[in-house]
């Protein structure tokens, strides 16, 4: 099995999908001969031609709006939004159109499409190249929201997203693009959506995380282990629709829960996990749920390492719930 970085695994998934299905096309800003600002589409124009991998005018609304029309009419568009921070001009197309098309036409029209976009901090990108906007989209029925954290999952989940009959927002943790490497199976395979991945088993504290926070939580768990605290780490992988039963089961196993995400705390995804636990399994809980998140501020540039949850902050929360 080849060892790939996460961004190479995304590239491999795109090539795999485009080789096996001529209706799959990929487009966005600078994704053509340049191969995308992170090189996720490196080599696609060369192999598949300009009609199937191409640069678009600089308009996110146009990218997603046209993708919806393509999806309605028999293509499988994979549209890249260069940075998730730039997705908001297309918010109307995603939220009002792609997500609602099946519902409002009784299934006569559907939008099977994938929106790929790098999200999150850690590259000194400041306010507009660092955000984690998953909560905006997880509040939208009809969408699926997927976040990989390993190269193997990046490929398997992206291929599953392309196969999926509904619109999928595929959030790629840009901080991990070249930071993580791993073995990736060759050829076509899918990792089922709406399934969790157990990163590490443990009996004392359950840590829920996704995307770029997964390696941060793994590091914190190693440090916790040295202090005698055994952590179960769950990578959520698909935020919507979430495997809620799996989440509750993992929370029940330890009765102590830490939720970690980069996005701001208020109405963040962690709030939903916390509410699910409170509503369903409060009697199993030994400690209040702890959240480690970005602050409720815009994303800072110079001090981003203070804004983003790190192993230090996650460990502090783990110790807090363990000792409660």
């Amino acid at each position: 099995m080849p060892t790939l970085t996460l961004v190479q695994a995304v590239n491999d998934a795109l090539k795999t999908a485009m080789r096996r299905d001529p209706t799959v096309i990929h487009f966005g800003e600078d994704v053509g001969p340049k191969g995308g600002v992170f090189l996720a589409s490196d080599g696609l124009t060369k192999e598949f031609g300009k009609a199937r991998n191409f640069d678009t005018p600089l308009s996110e609304d146009g990218i997603i709006g046209t993708a919806i029309g393509m999806a309605m009419n028999g293509l499988k568009p994979v549209a890249e939004i260069q940075f998730q921070d730039f997705i908001f001009p297309a918010f109307d197309q995603i939220v009002s159109e792609a997500a609602k098309l099946r519902y409002r036409s009784g299934g006569q029209y559907t939008a099977p499409m994938v929106i790929r976009t790098p999200y999150g901090g850690g590259i000194r990108g400041g306010l507009y190249h660092s955000q984690s906007g998953e909560a905006y989209f997880c509040h939208t029925p009809g969408l699926k929201v997927v976040v990989p954290s390993t190269p193997e999952d990046a490929k398997g989940l992206l291929l599953a997203s392309i196969e999926d009959p509904d619109p999928v927002l595929f959030l790629e943790p840009k901080a991990l693009y070249r930071q993580v490497k791993g073995e990736v199976p060759e050829g076509f395979y899918t990792t089922p959506l709406s399934t969790l991945r157990t990163v590490r088993t443990g009996k004392d504290v359950t840590v829920f995380c996704y995307g770029a926070m997964v390696p941060v939580c793994s590091k914190a768990a190693e440090q916790a282990a040295e202090k005698g605290i055994d952590c179960l780490i769950v990578d959520l992988r698909t935020l919507l629709p979430l495997d809620e039963e799996g989440v509750l089961e993992a929370a029940r196993q330890t009765g102590r829960v830490v939720i970690v995400h980069e996005a701001p705390r208020f109405c963040g995804f962690g709030a939903e996990i916390s509410a699910m636990i409170a509503e369903n399994i409060i009697e199993y809980m030994e400690a209040p749920v702890a959240r480690v998140t970005g602050f409720d501020t815009p994303f800072p540039n110079t001090l981003e390492h203070h804004y983003m949850p790190d192993a230090r902050r996650v460990l502090d929360a783990i110790e807090h719930v363990a000792k409660f």
């Binding site: 096309i25 009609a51 678009t56 005018p57 308009s59 609304d61 146009g62 997603i64 709006g65 046209t66 993708a67 919806i68 029309g69 393509m70 999806a71 309605m72 009419n73 028999g74 293509l75 568009p77 001009p89 109307d92 197309q93 009002s96 159109e97 609602k100 098309l101 099946r102 519902y103 409002r104 036409s105 009784g106 299934g107 006569q108 029209y109 559907t110 029925p141 009809g142 699926k144 999926d164 009959p165 509904d166 709406s194 629709p241 979430l242 809620e244 039963e245």
Partner: protein
């Protein structure tokens, strides 16, 4: 590219000055009957709305020729991305009034199963009349994407994206026209300039000399046509379709017309439309003008017209009877069609709603009216 006076084929007196009409007598009468059907649909729906039997409708009086003339230029394999004031296009291509009436009543046989407001139709047969959404202009880039798919497969189809003068200010107008021109996508953009975007007049909508002139900046032809002239509409849209099918790319058509009624049944146009303006446009009524044209070809008399109008009203009234007698959607329909398969969390939420209804009874229908 030149933007001249609106292209006109049928003069106000019904004459066509040697114009080669490319429709058979039957086809001309089909166009006429479709316009009468739109008018009957409007009249019946207004009464239904005023008597509280449906919540909302959108009047089309004044813009019938615009819709039907444009629709007549399309093939059944073409796709229509309509606005909410375009259903004459669907009727022209054979959508049955009863299918539309199911939507007006939001019943279980509505293609959207009562999830949308009235007049938000969706049809895939006998022509693709794409599901309508309320946000303005979002369908414009979607039409371009669907057209890109046609082009990629080498099909000779076109997409017609229809919108009003207000739609030209939307994000989707800009991105849609720009992408279409860059891609040379087979799209016809039809701007039905009816003078007002709800209540906002054209002079407050744009400082451009016309809507068609905007085409120039995108690198495509822009044409102005008399929107109350069915044959002129057909000619201009057909030429744009032919160009698109031949790989020549998109066209922006501006049809100058006038909405004789309100924006919707919730609107009172007397608050913002000068009376004299309505009176001047009343003289240019598109149906009356087409009648004069038909009369000049011995295809119309007042008696024939009255009989046909009665026939249309009967058809619409029968549709009302059938739609009103069709039950409302079942509770499950709230949860279906969100995703291709029902995810567990929606199964649970649905089950909880059914269980509650079984335990304490159904929710009472509210007395809500649009708008409050």
């Amino acid at each position: 590219m030149t933007i001249a006076e609106p292209l006109q084929v049928i003069a106000q007196d019904g004459s066509t000055a040697g114009f080669q009409v490319d429709l058979s007598n039957d086809a001309l009468l089909h166009c006429y009957r479709t316009m009468l059907l739109v008018r009957a649909f409007d009249d019946v729906c207004l009464k239904l709305q005023r008597s509280g039997r449906i919540g909302f409708s959108i009047p089309n009086k004044g813009v019938e020729a615009c819709q039907v003339g444009a629709a007549s230029a399309l093939e059944k394999t073409d796709w229509i991305f309509p606005s909410y004031r375009d259903f004459g296009m669907a009727l022209y291509h054979g959508v049955k009034p009863v299918e539309m009436m199911h939507n007006m009543f939001g019943n279980d046989r509505d293609s959207a199963r009562g999830r949308q407001m009235p007049v938000h139709f969706s049809f895939v047969q006998p022509i693709h009349f794409v599901s309508i959404s309320s946000p303005i202009g979002t369908h414009i880039p979607q039409a371009v994407g669907a057209a890109y798919a046609m082009k990629l497969r080498g099909e000779k189809q076109v997409c017609l994206a229809s919108f009003g003068d207000g739609g030209t200010s939307s994000l989707g107008f800009h991105s849609g026209l720009n992408f279409a021109a860059v891609w040379k996508a087979p799209v016809v953009f039809l701007c039905q300039n009816n003078g007002y975007a709800i209540s906002c007049p054209s002079e407050e909508q744009t400082a451009s000399e016309s809507y068609a002139v905007k085409a120039k900046a995108y690198g495509m032809p822009g044409v102005i046509v008399d929107g109350n002239d069915l044959l002129a509409m057909r000619k201009v849209v057909k030429e744009a379709c032919d160009r698109a099918r031949a790989g020549g790319g998109p066209t922006l058509v501006e049809a100058k017309t006038f909405r004789m009624g309100g924006h919707s049944t919730s609107d009172d146009p007397t608050r913002y439309v000068p009376k004299e303006l309505v009176e001047s446009w009343a003289k240019k009524d598109p149906v009356a003008r087409f009648e004069r044209f038909l009369a000049s070809r011995k295809l119309w008399t007042p008696e024939k017209g009255a009989l046909l109008a009665e026939d249309c009203t009967r058809e619409i009234t029968a549709a009302v009877g059938e739609a009103e007698a069709t039950p409302a959607p079942v509770l499950e329909s709230i949860f279906s069609d969100v995703y291709a398969t029902l995810p567990p969390h929606l199964r649970r939420q649905g089950q909880a709603a059914f269980d509650l209804a079984a335990r304490v009874g159904d929710a009472a229908a509210g007395g809500g009216k649009f708008p409050l």
